[in-house]
C-alpha cells in the first residue's frame, strides 16, 4: 500500500514539475510579440550589420577612382592562408624614375577566414572589411576578385 501511495505521489509530482515548465513555455505562447525570431529574407532591407562586421575584404575608392594601395605586399605576407595575391608592375613616372605600383590586388574570397590581419597590417589603410555577407555564387571562380577597380590609380600623396 505504501509503495502504491508513493507511486501515485510520484506521478503527481511529475505532472507538477511538467506544469512548472509549461508555465514558461505557455507564457511565450500567449505573448507572441515577445518572440525574437526574424523573418530573414523578407527583412533584408532593414537588416543593418554592425560597422565592424567582417564580411569580405574590399578596397575603398574615392570618386575619382583612386585608391590608397601602394602594392607593398604587406597584406599578402600577413595573410595566414594565401588569400591575397599582389601583382605589381613597374611604370615610368613623369620625372623619369621607375616606380612599382599595384597591377592587380587579387583576393580569393573562398579561402579567406575573415581574420582581419591584412586590414590591421596595411600601412596605408587601403583595404577595409565590408559588411556584405551573402556571398553564395553558382561558380567557384566568381569568388576570386580583383579588388582594385579597372582603370583606378593611386591617390596623390600616398607615401610608401
Amino acid at each position: 500500500m505504501k509503495s502504491f501511495i508513493e507511486y501515485i505521489g510520484s506521478i503527481f509530482k511529475g505532472i507538477w514539475t511538467l506544469l512548472i515548465g509549461m508555465k514558461v513555455t505557455g507564457k511565450y505562447f500567449f505573448t507572441p510579440w515577445k518572440n525574437v525570431t526574424q523573418q530573414y529574407p523578407e527583412n533584408r532591407d532593414q537588416l543593418v550589420m554592425f560597422e565592424r562586421f567582417r564580411g569580405e575584404v574590399i578596397m575603398t575608392h574615392n570618386e575619382n577612382n583612386e585608391h590608397l594601395c601602394t602594392g607593398c605586399g604587406i597584406c599578402e605576407i600577413n595573410c595566414p592562408n594565401g588569400s591575397i595575391e599582389i601583382i605589381s608592375k613597374s611604370i615610368l613616372t613623369p620625372d623619369g624614375k621607375k616606380k612599382r605600383i599595384i597591377d592587380q590586388h587579387i583576393y580569393h574570397l573562398g579561402m579567406c577566414t575573415f581574420c582581419n590581419l591584412c586590414v590591421k597590417a596595411c600601412p596605408t589603410g587601403a583595404i577595409v572589411m565590408g559588411q556584405k555577407f551573402e556571398h553564395a555564387v553558382w561558380d567557384r571562380s566568381l569568388l576570386t576578385k580583383v579588388l582594385n577597380q579597372p582603370g583606378s590609380k593611386i591617390e596623390e600623396g600616398v607615401k610608401e
Binding site: 511529475g14 514539475t17 515548465g21 565592424r52 595566414p80
Partner: protein
C-alpha cells in the same frame, strides 16, 4: 533470479550475445564527427572505444609554418565555443616569452570577454543537453539568450564565433562605445532568464531521474584521467585555473569555485548552471571599472620569440587549455602542442558509462560537453 539467469546463459537457444554497435560518426548526440565503438549486452554498455580523427585538421603542424599572430586565428577553430580563451592562451604565452606587460585595460577586456564566452558556451551546452535528452524546447531558449552575447561579440570584435580578437600585446580593436551598456543590459536580462532554465529543465522529474546517480566519476579517476573544467569540479577535483593560477584580471575579482561531490551527471549539470551565475557576478565586478588606457602595446611587425620552451594554460569553458611552444628564435615556432580539455575528458567516458544503459551514455556524453574539433585539432 540468478537461477533464471544461469539457465538462460547456459541454454544454447537463449544465450545472449554481446554485440558491437557503431555510435557515430554521424550521430546527433556526438555533436560532431566522433565514432564510438560500443560493446553492448542487451541495452547495457560493457565497453566504449572512442575513435577520433575524422576531422583532424593538423592545426599543430600548420602552426609550425605561420607566425604567432596567425596562430591565434587558428586556435579559434579548435574549441570554437571558447574562442576567446584559446586566443588568449596563445597571446599570453607570447607575452610571457617576450616579457611584455599588457595594460590593465587589456586585462579587463580580456577577462570580460572570457566570461561572456563562457556564458555563451554554457548556454549552448544547456540547450543541447536538453535536446539530447529529448526536450527540444530548451534548444530555442538557450539560443535566444546566446544570440545577445553573439551580438556583443559582433559589435566589438567583428565576428560572432571565430572572433580572433586577441593579439600578442593586447586586443585587436578597442571596445565599441556601446559595449559597456550592452553588457550591462545583457547581465540584467540574463539574471531574469536564468531561473527559467531551472524551471524548464533542472526541476523536471524526468530529467532528474535520468541524470542523478548516472555516470559516476570518482575524484581519484578524475585526477587520473585529467578531467578538468566543470566535469572535473563536479567530481570534487578543485582545478579552476582562474583561482589557482590567476591570469589577466582574475586576481582582482571575487568569485567562488563551484565544487560538487556527488560526481554524477546531475552534479556536472548543476556545476555549469551555477558557474553561469558566477560568470555574471565576475562581469558585474569588472564592467564598470574598465580603466582608461591603451588597448594594445606596440609590438614589432615581425614577432620573434627567444629560443626556449614556453607554456601557458588558461581555463576554457571545458577545462584546462594549455599551449606549449618550442621556439628556435625564428618568426614561426619550432613545435606547438595544444593541451585540449576535450581530449582528456572524452577518454574518461568509458569509466563513467560502463554498466549503464545506452540511453544514459547519451546523457553522460552531453554533460562532458564535447567539442570535436577541440579533440581532433
Amino acid at each position: 533470479m540468478s537461477e533464471i539467469r544461469e539457465i538462460i546463459l547456459n541454454s544454447d537457444r537463449l544465450a545472449t550475445d554481446e554485440y558491437l554497435v557503431n555510435m557515430g560518426p554521424q550521430h546527433p548526440s556526438t555533436h560532431g564527427v566522433l565514432r564510438m565503438l560500443v560493446r553492448l549486452e542487451g541495452e547495457k554498455v560493457l565497453n566504449i572505444e572512442p575513435h577520433i580523427g575524422y576531422i583532424h585538421s593538423g592545426i599543430e603542424k600548420m602552426c609550425e609554418a605561420i607566425s604567432y599572430p596567425q596562430i591565434i586565428h587558428l586556435t579559434d577553430r579548435m574549441d570554437y565555443l571558447s574562442a576567446h580563451m584559446n586566443n588568449e592562451a596563445v597571446a599570453l604565452c607570447v607575452e610571457k616569452a617576450l616579457q611584455v606587460e599588457v595594460p590593465d585595460r587589456v586585462n579587463y577586456i580580456r577577462t570580460i570577454m572570457d566570461e561572456l564566452s563562457r556564458l555563451a558556451s554554457h548556454q549552448l551546452w544547456w540547450c543541447v543537453m536538453g535536446m539530447d535528452l529529448g526536450a527540444l524546447t530548451t534548444f530555442f531558449y538557450g539560443l535566444r539568450d546566446r544570440e545577445k552575447i553573439l551580438d556583443i561579440f559582433e559589435e566589438t570584435c567583428g565576428a560572432r564565433l571565430t572572433v580572433n580578437y586577441n593579439l600578442p600585446g593586447g586586443v585587436m580593436f578597442d571596445i565599441h562605445p556601446n559595449f559597456q551598456k550592452r553588457v550591462k543590459d545583457f547581465v540584467k536580462y540574463f539574471r531574469t532568464k536564468l531561473p527559467e532554465y531551472d524551471q524548464l529543465l533542472s526541476g523536471n522529474v524526468i530529467f532528474r531521474e535520468r541524470t542523478s546517480g548516472i555516470g559516476y566519476l570518482s575524484p581519484a579517476d578524475a585526477i587520473e584521467y585529467g578531467v578538468t573544467g566543470p566535469s572535473g569540479r563536479a567530481s570534487g577535483f578543485s582545478c579552476d585555473l582562474r583561482k589557482h593560477q590567476p591570469y589577466s584580471a582574475y586576481p582582482l575579482v571575487k568569485f567562488n569555485e563551484i565544487l560538487d561531490h556527488r560526481c554524477d551527471t546531475l552534479a556536472r549539470y548543476e556545476v555549469r548552471i551555477k558557474e553561469m551565475y558566477e560568470s555574471l557576478s565576475i562581469i558585474d565586478q569588472l564592467i564598470d571599472n574598465i580603466p582608461e588606457g591603451e588597448y594594445a602595446v606596440k609590438m614589432k611587425g615581425v614577432i620573434k620569440l627567444p629560443e626556449g620552451e614556453f607554456f601557458q594554460r588558461v581555463e576554457t569553458a571545458r577545462g584546462e587549455f594549455g599551449v606549449f611552444v618550442i621556439s628556435d628564435g625564428k618568426k614561426n615556432p619550432y613545435r606547438v602542442k595544444f593541451r585540449s580539455p576535450g581530449f582528456s575528458n572524452l577518454f574518461a567516458l568509458n569509466k563513467m558509462a560502463k554498466g549503464h544503459k545506452i540511453a544514459d551514455l547519451v546523457a553522460i556524453m552531453s554533460t562532458l560537453d564535447l567539442v570535436i574539433p577541440d579533440i581532433d585539432r
